[in-house]
Each structure stands twice: as structure tokens, then as C-alpha cells.
Symmetry: C2
């Protein structure tokens, strides 16, 4: 049995939803007219302050669907009761989807992706998104577990680029990378212990560059799914680079 | 009247001193046998804890000169009473000196330097040092005023590379850059508004790349001293990069 076109369309829409939270991030997203908004969620318990008033005013002006709910329901929506401040916003980002869908749609084209394995520092995640977006990377595979998730700190550190970057979600990274490799993509783990260097990689095949945890590097399961291991040559006996710096050197390698 | 060779040697020695402070940074520096230490300063008021005991033990083992002084004198030495924790250490770094001396010694050679104007975030300063060191930059000009200074946060963010990197101190950046330009160096301000791009710069002349404040960019006096203005081309309408990312793309431009 195959899924009906109606069902697939609906699923693609829900995959494109990104829920952000926190009064300031939600207000800034509403102020950006280029961002397609699906729905605003407000907790009944919210005390009205200037930010809430401005959020309600903008939602009215932009004719955005507003859902009022109790505090508990709101934390179910935001998935972060401690930081949501009673406010959540569903963005319908056309650039936001799943790694599987990306692979279906791009099996015949060249692409360059980053894939993140255990990047837990929100500052680093935001900087990676910013650099990859500026360098023209086609997307960032961000697993739902084991990585920092898109929260107000990440949005802030991405300096507005989160909403312009193709974020591809998946549950587990290793099986997704295996699928990409099966379709002919090079899956390259960045590691300071690798023999080959980043410069040895050409553009004849699609490339996925896998960046590992800030301290432990790429994990064993993900490493096993990689077809190549690459390092960035370093001078003065330096052993490693910040992961966001590595992401930038990859993303800009054709330009600088 | 010219300065005597004896005086010049003494001055060069004092220019090479870097005073660090804080119990953990001092302990880590003492543990690194490759770092030449000049003197350890301890406040009389220090309560002995494990870190202090270990610091004293290492100083004895390494036969390092220890000066005991009162709390007030110690904060005069550390220049940071709030963070020194009663401990300061003078390192005699051969790689540490003044921009003026560097220019005298390297007037006939090719070099690439970074110069920092108003980089106030210690995290960014540490990351710039780390990336520049790994990319093989010949030195970083760090003015004594208007920039973050070398403190425990910077040392931590530099991940050990601070002690391998040639840090060149100066009082004011603009007159120093003018001297470099007069001797034939290109002095290039990085700015997202520039017409020329980083790739247009060759190695026929020594190059100095000036990085400005995280929010305001290069200041007017320093900008006036620059002979070139350069940008890094960005995609997706991104307007700026983190300053440490910019430093990395410059430092690695011959390698990636």
C-alpha cells in the first residue's frame, strides 16, 4: 500500500514546521515579514508585558492564527517549559524538512551537506548554521537526538540565518548516512587523525561532511557509516579546531 | 642618543613577559614544561587549597622564583583583582613582543599578520588565536587598549595555542599600521561593504588583515590607516560572519 498524495502533502507540511519559543525570539520572527508563520500559541497564564502586547498586535496585523491554551499544553508544544516564557510559534519553513525527503528529491543533482553528530553547544550550532549559510552549503542534517536543538540561544547565534538555511531532520544519523552512501554520495567524517585532507575531495559526487562532538569527535556508529575520513592540515602542532571553524572552512572551500 | 645594547636587551625581555593569573590557568601553565616561566607571585592572604599546594610544589620542582606579596601588590601585578585569586605568573614567551620590534626584524621578509581593532569578546579573541595559530599566521597585533586582554577566558578559548602564537603588543593600532604601510605592507581592513574580495590579494607584499569590532567593524582612525578594504563573498544574503570565522578563512586561505 502506498501513501496517498494527500497524505504525503500533509506530511511534508508538518515536516516543514519549526516551533520556536521565548518572547524575544517569537517577536523577532513575527517582525520578519519574509517568514511564513503557521500558528501562534499563547499560555492563558501569561502576564501581559510589552513583548506580549507587541506579539499579539503583530499576530493580528499579519492575520495569524492564535491558539490559547493552558501552561501545561504550551510546554507540550514548546517542548521546553523552562525557556518558553508562555509563548510558542510554528513557522512553516519551506527550507525545513527531513533528510529522507531531501535525498528523494536530489538523487540526480550535486549537493554538499553538513551532518552534525553530537554537537551539544548551542553557540557552536548557531555559528555552524551562520557559516554554512554564508558559504552556500545546501543543507545541514540535524538529528533529533544527541545534538543541541533549535532554541533561542541557537537562533541568536545564527544571527538570522537559521531561517534561510535548509535544516534536514532525522531520527538516527547513521542509517540516513548509509542511505546517502548507497545512492553514491561521499560521506566524509572530519577527524584530526585522518590521513586524507579536505583538499583531496572533488565535486564529482555529492559530498556530506560529518562533524562530531566538540570533545569526542564522530561517534563509532556514525563513523562506521562514513566512506571517507578527512582532516584539515594544521600548523604549529595545533591538534584541533573549533567545530564551527571547521564548518566554515568546509563551507567556504570553493571561495577562499 | 641611542639606547645601549644592554638596555635594548633588557627592554626586549620585559616586552616578552606575559602575566597570567587565576589558580587554574597558572597551574596549567606550570604543568606545561615547554613554557619558560620568569616568576610566580603569591598573595600572603591566600588560603591554601589543593590548587595552591600543587602550584607551590610545581614551582619548587621547576626551581621557579616565587615572590610573596600582599593582596594589594598582587592586584597591581595581575591588573585584575577580581579574577586573579591571589596568584599571578610571569611567562617569558619568546613569541611575545611588540609590533614595532616585529617590523624592525622582518622588514625584508614576507609575512601575514592579523591586527585586532576593538575585539572585546574573550571567547572570540581565544578562537581567533587558535585559528590563526593553526592556519600559520605569523603574528597577531593586539593593542593594549580597546580589545579583550589575555585573561583566563581567552587562554581557555585558545585551547593551549596562546603560548605558541606570536602576539605583538602596541599602544595605538592606527600609527603602527601606518608604519607597516610605509614599509610596503598591504594593510587590509575586512569589511562587508568593501568592493574587492579577499581572493584578489596575492603574496607579493606582506599582508596585514585588520579585523574590527563584533558590532561596529573597524573604527574610523584605524580604517584611515588601511591601504585596502576587502570582503569575503557570502551567499544567501548573509551580511556578516563571526569575527573568529573571518580570521580562520584568512588564516587558512592558502590551504583550503
Amino acid at each position: 500500500m502506498t501513501d496517498s498524495p494527500e497524505y504525503l502533502k500533509k506530511r511534508a507540511f508538518f515536516d516543514s514546521l519549526l516551533t520556536i519559543y521565548g518572547r524575544k525570539p517569537v517577536l523577532e520572527a513575527l517582525e520578519d515579514q519574509s517568514l511564513p508563520v503557521h500558528k501562534l500559541h499563547l499560555a492563558d497564564s501569561n502576564r501581559k508585558d510589552q513583548l506580549i502586547s507587541r506579539i499579539e498586535q503583530l499576530a493580528a496585523e499579519r492575520k495569524i492564527d492564535v491558539a490559547h491554551c493552558d501552561r501545561k499544553e504550551l510546554s507540550r508544544i514548546s517542548k521546553n517549559a523552562r525557556q518558553d516564557q508562555g509563548v510558542a510559534l510554528d513557522l512553516a519553513l519551506p527550507h525545513y524538512g527531513t533528510a529522507e525527503t531531501f535525498l528523494e528529491e536530489n538523487s540526480d543533482t550535486h549537493f554538499e551537506l553538513l551532518a552534525l553528530d553530537g554537537i551539544t553547544n548551542p553557540q557552536n550550532l548557531g555559528m555552524i548554521i551562520r557559516s554554512a549559510c554564508a558559504g552556500g552549503i545546501d543543507g545541514i542534517i540535524l538529528p533529533r537526538k544527541g545534538c543541541a536543538q533549535i532554541d533561542p540561544l541557537v537562533i541568536k547565534a545564527s544571527v538570522g540565518t537559521l531561517f534561510k538555511t535548509r535544516i534536514l531532520r532525522c531520527d538516527q544519523l547513521a542509517p540516513v548516512l548509509e542511505q546517502f552512501a548507497k545512492r553514491g554520495a561521499r560521506v566524509c567524517a572530519l577527524s584530526s587523525h585522518a590521513h586524507e585532507t579536505l583538499q583531496t575531495i572533488d565535486d564529482e559526487k555529492p559530498n556530506i561532511f560529518v562533524l562530531g562532538n566538540e570533545t569526542h569527535g564522530v561517534g563509532p556508529a556514525v563513523d562506521k557509516a562514513c566512506t571517507h575520513r578527512l582532516r584539515i592540515p594544521m600548523q604549529n602542532g595545533v591538534e584541533s579546531l573549533n567545530v564551527a571553524i571547521t564548518a566554515a572552512l568546509i563551507s567556504f572551500r570553493h571561495q577562499s
